[in-house]
């Protein structure tokens, strides 16, 4: 099939390939002037941003698909396909827009680093892969770019690979992601085996077709036989279509668990902060970790097949991650780690929203979160640079006067993250809380959990702001801190705009075009949107704001002008556990060492001593012994031969005469 490219398809292809071209040029001809590499990367993503804006406003809401035949063998047909629908167009804007700011910021942040061009090449490679996930129109292509995102994250976390901690963190991130990908690819294989396609549109129509038949999970019953083979049984619970659909949903969710760092695969994200701060902002806050949530929204129809219980599981995993990460954030002292745990927690919110049958509020929160979390990370980077690479908030203090521009933007970001009206975060978080109260899928425990986590969020973010920015300087570096250059602060200012405004411009209404939703929100103009949450569900908005007030009051009482953290004295062992991340890393290390490492040791021992030793050397040894024994016989002496010959004759005669005779 020859691809027919519409102008929109051309634009999408250009957006995708520009960063790749920048990366390839940077790698293939490393030019002497690293600034030029940076400019090429920035230019590529800037052009992409402009084209994305064009697509967003002028391409219409109809889904446009472009297919190039990439692989077609038997019934496995994979196209290199681009899908432009409201979902991917919004995500394009997020990735290129936030990405552009971070590219510009990086130019200042990494100025003078000896691997400047390698940095920008990797950043462009990442942008390419991320855009690939966004534009992919089938599961296989998504997996391809999924892996590429994983590897670019590996390269960027390990950017300063001379540091042992950075090299270890990179490896850990890649391997943890691979555990998720293991489930993801199995889920893709099962989906393909059941429904016969990997293309989203075809899968959706297959699911819908199944929906019109009596048995709604019809296609998935094909999986019953092979799965029965695995478990050597034909138990009803394995063959039951609901179980099969749920299983496939959960396997696909495993991919999101890895990329979006959901419990129990959350351990890599805090360590990933070893990378340069703009990388943390782009990859580990705004875009890559959001890929999991994006993927869940993309395949929502597969998770939502009637009979599937995958969404309930997803909701609880998300809620639990949100709570766990918020608790861990309470006792961190590294400014980037606090933000990393808050990212985990917010991703938990998004995943929970998907689980609560509300993918559009997940995407809404993803969008606003991308803006304000990138802002917070870049602000943290500005602080870190000003304090000469000091990351401990207890060695900062008083920065509000020294760094005015960083201060007010960081404060805006914090307000948005806490969910203060009228900042963007309020609206998206409110949408999630409201989803928990939605009568169709009401989940009161998760609503309470969401409100509680909102309070925790305000508490730890207020702690961060009060300790790092207010009060007096606690170290030499902090007292000499001064504002960062314009190349770094202007992106902060630009990002502050969506941080304030993105909540009420009608993103949720736009998303409703692409995603299923029971009560599609309407765009009623900016001013009306500002008050819509209170009209829609006053309970969610009220409790959300209450939690913010409570969290802030508590933090202010504890941390105003505090010299040290008073919380460990008050909470005791709980505080220590929170600081030590509830010992998950240690637990995993122990688990891996008793399972995989032991298996490897056993296999190695078996290989060395049984197969190569006992069997192979044994065979060789026996053969050789046999040969040596036979060699003794061949003496070359005629007398011996004659003697042996005679002895043989005697033996045969004796056998014949003595042993055979009693038979008579």
């Amino acid at each position: 099939m020859e691809p027919t490219l519409s102008p929109a398809g051309y634009a999408a292809l250009t957006i995708l390939l520009l960063p790749l071209a920048a990366a390839v040029v940077a790698l293939a001809c490393p030019c002497r002037d690293p600034e030029r590499t940076a400019n090429r990367s920035i230019g590529a993503i800037a052009l992409g941003f402009i084209l994305s804006l064009g697509l967003f406003f002028f391409a219409g809401d109809k889904a446009i698909e472009t297919n190039f035949n990439w692989l077609s063998v038997g019934d496995l047909k994979v196209s290199f396909g681009l899908l432009l629908d409201p979902l991917s167009k919004l995500m394009l804007l997020v990735v290129t827009g936030v990405g552009l700011m971070i590219h510009i910021y990086s130019r200042g942040y990494l100025h003078g680093d000896r691997s400047y061009s390698r940095y920008f090449a990797s950043l462009s490679l990442f942008t390419f892969s991320m855009l690939g996930i966004v534009l992919a129109n089938n599961l296989f292509m998504m997996f391809v770019f999924w892996e590429l995102v994983g590897v670019s994250s590996y390269l960027l976390i390990g950017f300063w690979f001379e540091k042992n901690s950075a090299a270890d963190a990179a490896k850990k991130a890649f391997l943890t992601n691979r555990v998720g990908d293991f489930g993801f690819i199995l889920g893709i294989i099962l989906t393909w085996a059941a429904l016969g396609s990997v293309n989203f549109t075809e899968l959706a129509s297959a699911v819908e077709l199944g929906g019109r038949l009596a048995d709604k999970a019809a296609g998935f019953s094909v999986l019953a036989e092979p799965l029965g083979k695995i478990f050597q049984s034909t138990n009803w619970w394995l063959v039951h279509p609901n179980v099969l659909v749920t299983l496939v949903g959960l396997l696909l969710f495993m991919g999101a668990m890895g990329k979006s760092a959901q419990f129990p695969l959350h351990v890599w994200l805090p360590d990933a902060m070893e990378g340069p701060t703009p990388v943390s902002a782009l990859i580990h806050a705004a875009t890559m970790v959001a890929a999991g949530v994006f993927m869940l929204c993309r395949i929502f129809f597969l998770l939502d097949i009637p009979g599937s219980h995958a969404l309930e599981f997803i909701a609880w995993i998300g809620g639990f991650t949100a709570l766990l990460a918020a608790l861990m954030a309470l006792q961190q002292n590294d400014i980037k780690r606090i933000l990393a745990y808050s990212t985990l927690s917010q991703l938990g919110y998004m995943v929970m929203a998907v689980g609560l049958h509300s993918p559009q509020s997940a995407m809404f929160h993803l969008t606003t979160h991308a803006a304000f979390k990138a802002l917070l990370f870049l602000g943290a980077g500005s602080v870190i640079l000003a304090c000469h690479h000091e990351q401990n908030i207890w060695k900062m203090g008083g920065l509000r006067d020294a760094m005015p521009r960083t201060w007010w933007t960081f404060r805006w970001g914090t307000l948005a993250l806490c969910g203060v009206w009228p900042f963007a975060g309020f609206f998206s978080k409110d949408a999630i809380l409201a989803a928990a109260l939605d009568p169709a899928h009401r989940n009161i425990p998760l609503f309470v959990l969401g409100v509680f986590v909102a309070g925790l969020t305000t508490f730890y973010m207020s702690r961060l702001v009060l300790v790092a920015f207010c009060g007096n300087a606690r170290s030499e570096e902090a007292s000499h801190a001064h504002e960062s250059p314009g190349v770094m602060t202007w992106p902060l200012v630009v990002l502050a705009v969506p941080t304030l405004l993105a909540g009420a411009v009608g993103i949720d209404a736009y998303l409703a075009k692409a995603l299923p939703s029971e009560h599609a929100p309407h765009n009623e103009g900016f001013l009306n949107n500002l008050f819509a949450p209170f009209n829609h569900n006053i309970l969610a908005a009220g409790f959300g704001l209450l939690a913010v007030v409570a969290g802030y009051k508590l933090a202010r009482a504890l941390y105003t002008n505090a010299g040290r953290d008073p919380l460990p004295d008050k909470l005791g062992v709980l505080a220590k556990m929170a600081r030590d991340r509830f010992y998950f890393d240690e637990l995993y290390e122990w688990f891996i060492s008793v399972t995989q490492e032991t298996l490897a040791k056993v296999a190695d021992w078996f290989d060395r001593w049984i197969i190569a030793g006992l069997l192979v050397r044994g065979t060789h040894g026996t053969t050789e012994l046999f040969g040596r024994a036979l060699r003794l016989v061949q003496t070359g002496s005629l007398q011996t031969y004659a003697f042996l010959f005679a002895a043989g004759v005697v033996l045969v005669l004796a056998w014949q005469l003595l042993l055979q005779s009693p038979a008579h």
């Binding site: 590429l148 691979r178 048995d215 298996l599 040791k601 197969i611 192979v616």
Partner: protein, 524 residues
Amino acid sequence: MSLLSSIFLLPLVAALVVLCIPRNYKFVIRLVTLGATLASMLLALALFAKYNAAPVENGFKFVEKHAWVNVSALKLDIGWHLGVDGINLGLIVMGAIVAFAAACVSREITRLEKEYYTLLLVMTGGILGAFASLNLFFFYFFHELALVPTFIMIGVWGHGENRNYATFKITIYLSLGALIALAGLIALYIQSGANTFDIVELTKAVKARPLPLAAQSLIFPLLLFGFGILVSLWPFHTWAPLGYGAAPTATAMLHAGVLKKFGLYGLLRVGIPLMPDGATAWLEILAFLCLGNIVYCGLVAMRQKDLNLLIGNSSVAHMGFIFLGIASLSIVGVTGAVVVMVAHGFLAALTFGLSGALREKTGTLEMEKLGGLLRQIPFLGAALVMAMLAGCGLPGFANFVGEAMVLFGSWRAFPLVTTLATWGALIIGAVYMLRAVRNILHGPEKSEWAALKDASAWAKVPFVLLLAALLLLGVWPRLLTDKIQPSVAAILTMANTKTADKAARPGDVKKAADEAKQRAVQPR
């Protein structure tokens, strides 16, 4: 000489030329070798470009056929018969490229160059000849022609104190494997009753009159395990890491990359299409044995401290995917297996080439002694990172395409094995590959390696070539798959033809009934 035969006769002629050059003219010897392998590579690429997937009689193109020995009294018919289809086309091109790369990295050899280059050229010609031959006699003869130089090269130019034991072990193992396979081939010749070694004629004869089931179930295991030993099928694999660890770089590249694929090719070309009924029972066992390769050898690789042993074990592990794809007997799986055969050839050559370059520069491959090298040797380091990532199945490299196809294709036939193989592919592979990168390239710079120099421009050529091949096929897999698919389909048609006495077995009747029932239940 026509295109196909000149690809492998050129290196053999060059070997004769090298023999005539005085041993002091080292530069000329090297030039002749490089020229011959380069020319053969270019010819192979031309062959690839000219090949189209349009169907022809018997499925083979570029056919060359001459009578050679035909003694009717002895019922002996050995003819010169060459040809390519989608399956051996990729292997020949890959082999020719790897051979050129191997000739390039042979600069490390500093003694007895004349003998070395002669053997290298003979090995190259033998490998390519074996893949091009459509007559079992030459098929086997050319393989032996390539195998014998392997042993000599490891023994004479090998590395490490284990060299002699390694030579000894690899010789015995591979000779044994080849002998078992030979027994199988001779039995096949006799049982078919067609009095010909010609694969095309044999195929026709078997199509007309299938071999009796008893003969099939005796001959197929001979071929399976004979060829299996040559491919380091678990548990007959221990020669491979040891042998490759001791071999000179070029020999390891050529053997692990190209010659090892001979067994797989033989299985696919001869074993499965000619003895489909013998195969069905044994392929189930093969599927479980290949877990020994993928999972077990992967775990063993995790424990290695020497880079070459790690690569050797990982190369054994990758063979498992090919076996799994073949065992699945599905078009997706077998096509994927052929893609992995080609991709792994490039990858094995790349990794052994890089480890050779590393050993030449540092004198050691103990990973604990190395560390922080990426800053000193950015090119070799980056190439090694790419090779390692390709080895753990990163999209963009050809290995991913092949392995993914194998996993997709074998799910229906062997769900449990596929699940475990996915674990091996995604997690175990990544663990040891990244561990190697972490220990060798990452980490603080060490003072003893401060003076290390990166590869010179000429030394980069083979690595760039191999990486480019991996990337090209990874980004544009249809370049290969469109050519492979029709040939695989032809083989699978034969493999899935049920003979009369098979259907008569009670177990199969029951299975067929079950399948019919299953189909009735399925809505689609």
